[in-house]
Amino acid sequence: MGSFLSSIGDVLTSEAAYINAFTFAVFLAFGATGEWVAERSGTLNISVEAMYLAGAFAAAVGYDSSQSELVALGFGVVAGLLVALVQAQMSHRLVANQFVVGLTLNILVLGLASFLASELDPVTEKSDTIPIPLLSELPLIGAALFDRSWLFYLIYPLVPLCWWLVYRTRWGLELRAVGENPQSSDVSGIDVNKRRRQGIYISGITCGMGGTFLVLAAVGQFEDSIVGGRGFIALIAVIFGGWTLRGTLAGCLLFGAVLSFRLSLPALGYDVNGDLLASLPFVVTIIAMSVFAKRVRPPQALAQPFIRGLK
């Protein structure tokens, strides 16, 4: 235990650990922010994984064909949006079960990405970092937060933008209403399933950005295991955060830190069981949900489909 604590101390004073942690955290935050919007509208969108992967693959193809990071981002966002389109139309227009659609999309996109990757074999390189003057000189976290690829910096405007959309616009009010009580929203003239579809589109866009960030700024080369189940972690970050944006981001930071600890602790020469460490955030989330069950309230219509006239 003592060695564990001192290892934490070592990690907390290592600049590389912060860089790693924030890479994971920001990757998660892209998807989690969009997922948060979708969940506030009442969709438990489990195709985040597919959206990330589609975004990452399309970004790699886009970069390979144009050598431009901007085009890659465009490709990534469009691919994420395409997956979102299928998810939204199937689960909130045809009202097919959202878990079936999500699970299927995860399988389909993984199959499609690895199939097409073996055919096209996109070559990418890691994006250059653009240090922000002064801020990047900060000790410890300076390099982690302000000496990054421009794709990393996209998270800074994205989060406030989503917050503003959800909490400060009429659209956002309707979105939240739809997630809490679709029947009442319907009666007051809101197109419930339309708002929910739009929520999913937003998560498609942000996941597409996250996928682009992953392949161009974090890893540098596409492989089909590049997302490897971390989409689910972004989804769980939203649950961990108790469906608030603040909490969601805190969840991303915590999960990002844990994911990077797994890599950096052995590198620093500590022998810590990675599996138990990695399961910590999930166990903490479950415990937090049960302890604060009274205070933390999921959107009341979360994961419930809406069909007019059926309650």
């Binding site: 097919a96 659609v101 199959g111 999930f282 006239g309």
Partner: protein, 398 residues
């Protein structure tokens, strides 16, 4: 308030439009054409046509993807068929894969019928397999007894894992859809932890390569017996899976317990007024669902079609997710579920033969994904049309 997910959420078609599978296409009563007979025949033909169009569209899209990337679509489809059905002995292989998928799906049907959304089968399966490994490699004694013990252990493991979700749902009001999902990851990590420690699951060093994280192999006499039918070898667990399917169908359709479970799924409040204890029946449904998933893990381990009688990292191989998908695509009908489980198993075993055609084998996943999406469209369309008509009739009356 309503953290329960009523069954209307998950099987709106099966619950509210029971006619989709009750009148299987082709049993159209040419001889018994009553006043509504003709209309029924037309609508049955419509259903068949809709399914045919959607499935053909899915296959056509898959073929298009293959052809566009320079492959030969017919060769791929032939390879899929050869690898799953037509090749000598391949049906046995496919049945061996279909059995655990079906077992998981049965559990999912039970949870879903009670109006619960258990999406954690993948984790429950892993824990079940881990329990089975522990018992199977540690317990000595006569082979059949060990097989029985390890299968029971796998059921207990899966049920325990789902039990966490049940306890949290009914004690602390935490939605089971979230806990079961979270527990999938924890299960994988816990099993990974077990596979790193020799006092838990890791094989003794002499039986494996250095740093390899696998369990000891089950002894030859503690494996599920293999039967040979016309050159197709498969574990006898296939028969048990089919028997279990019939049993689940019977219990749900023909017993008081099953009736109460379904009542709970349709409307929790009404069911409780009628004397169905939601906590008791709901917990039971979750535990049984988890138990089935765990059993699938035990059957996969001792049946030998996965991991060669050893527990390895990533052992569930998405069978848990597939089983859940099968239950939902089969719209929770036993007959449809058996069929879908077999088709999904075909795609899995068939994909092994695709590589020989020079096309990446993951194309099987694409075919499967497109097929599922195609199978979702007709019932949803029909259901929506039916709703729209009903709403129009209501509005016309008032």
């Amino acid at each position: 308030m309503s953290t329960g997910f009523e069954s209307a959420d998950i099987d709106h078609g099966a619950a509210s439009s029971p006619d989709l599978f009750e009148h299987p296409p082709g049993t159209g009563a040419a001889g018994r054409l009553g006043p509504h007979g003709l209309a029924r025949l037309v609508s049955a033909a419509e259903v068949v046509g809709l399914y045919a169009v959607c499935i053909l569209a899915a296959l056509g899209l898959s073929a298009l993807i293959i052809e566009l990337t320079g492959g030969d679509a017919m060769a791929v489809f032939n390879a899929l068929l050869d690898g799953s059905i037509r090749g000598p002995g391949r049906i046995g292989e496919t049945l061996g894969v279909a059995a655990p998928i079906l077992i998981v799906a049965l559990g999912a049907i039970i949870s879903n019928r009670a109006g619960l959304v258990n999406i954690g089968q993948e984790g429950q399966l892993f824990i079940g397999a881990a329990f089975a490994t522990y018992v199977g490699t540690r317990m000595g004694g006569p082979g059949p007894l060990v097989i029985l013990a390890l299968l029971v252990a796998s059921v207990i493991g899966g049920a325990l894992w789902a039990g966490i979700a049940a306890a949290l749902k009914y004690r602390r009001n935490v939605p089971e859809v979230l806990t079961t999902l979270l527990l999938v990851t924890v299960a994988a990590q816990l099993s990974g932890f077990g596979l790193k420690n020799q006092w838990l699951l890791l094989a003794p060093p002499e039986g494996r390569a250095n740093r390899q994280q696998i369990s000891a192999q089950l002894d030859a006499d503690t494996r599920i017996p293999i039967v040979d039918v016309f050159g197709n070898e498969f574990p006898i667990s296939v028969f048990f899976a089919l028997a279990a399917a019939l049993l689940v169908g019977f219990v749900l359709a023909r017993t008081v317990w099953g009736f109460r479970l379904r009542a709970l799924g349709h409307n929790q409040r009404t069911a409780q007024r009628a004397g169905v204890a939601a906590a008791r029946y709901g917990s039971a449904a979750l535990l049984i669902g988890g138990g089935f998933a765990g059993l699938a893990g035990g059957v996969m381990l001792a049946g030998g079609d996965f991991g060669n009688y050893t527990l390895v990292p990533g052992f569930p191989a998405e069978i848990g997710w597939t089983g859940l998908l099968v239950a939902l695509v089969g719209r929770q009908r036993i007959s449809a579920t058996i069929l879908v489980a077999f088709v999904f198993a075909c795609l899995r075993t068939g994909s092994g033969f695709v590589a020989a055609t020079g096309v990446e084998r993951r194309i099987a996943d694409v075919v499967q994904g497109l097929l599922v999406l195609a199978l979702l469209i007709p019932p949803a369309l029909l259901f929506l049309r039916q709703r729209r008509r009903a709403m129009a009739a209501l509005e016309g009356r008032t």
